[in-house]
């Protein structure tokens, strides 16, 4: 019988970060990699959809305002591909109406930038427990 390694039994949890701002991507990616996650990035809605099909992330952090296909449309496409993927919409604007709207349209959460790294660590840890147990 083939040997079963830890990584085969418990694969790394996958996160996709979608943002057109390179420094946001790098900051979040580097931190989540240091926390031991398998992190993927995309800089546009279309690229995000390709990455979702390719890697099936557990959690997507998705910027609402992006050139081309916007965050809301991208979220709806992701949910069509796999409704179990947790999609947290990310924006620099604290807007209650926008938050209500994105949740009504199918998003799982609404997070405001800048994202504190301590918050990000606990957020991903708790969501992964919810999603994988």
């Amino acid at each position: 019988m083939d040997k079963m390694f830890i990584k085969d039994v418990v694969p790394k949890e996958k996160v996709l970060i979608v943002d057109d701002e390179a420094h946001v991507l790098k900051l979040m990616r580097d931190y989540l990699v240091s926390e031991g996650y398998d992190v993927h990035t995309a800089t546009s809605g279309l690229e995000a959809i390709e990455k979702v099909k390719e890697v099936t992330p557990h959690i997507v952090f998705l910027d609402i305002i992006m050139p081309g296909m916007g965050g809301i449309e991208t979220m709806q496409e992701i949910k069509k591909i796999n409704p179990k993927i947790w999609v947290a919409m990310v924006t620099a604007v604290v807007d209650e109406e926008l938050a209500k709207r994105v949740i009504q349209l199918g998003a799982d959460d609404y997070i405001v930038k800048p994202i504190d790294l301590g918050f990000l660590r606990v957020y991903v840890l708790v969501r992964m427990i919810q999603l994988l147990n």
Binding site: K3, V10, E35
Partner: protein
Amino acid sequence: MKKVLIIDDEKYFCRAVKKVIETNRDFMVLTATRGDEGLRLAQTETPDLILLDIVMPGIAGTQVAEELLEDPATATIPIIFVTAIVKQEEAERNKGFLGGRMFIAKPVVVDELLKKIDSLLSSQ
């Protein structure tokens, strides 16, 4: 309930090994990603077994082991060293022992890990 402490700076490794042990055995698994944190947990929780990474930033695993041995409260806790330095074939050839210490090579094989844990805990 038996307690296992994992001390490894690789956070994914801690999470994954904790899940594997808790899924397969009725043990409580504690984790620490730094040597000093691991030492503190070993002293306060007195686990039945410690899985200890050798190469870690800050206090290395070898130093953690020395400090555990020097403290009467933790001196008798069995330790399995976990490392990518030792090749699996090398560890297997020596029946998991090198220099009188029990080793397990990374990447860790699930059955091998559980067998080693069982062998050490059943002899207690």
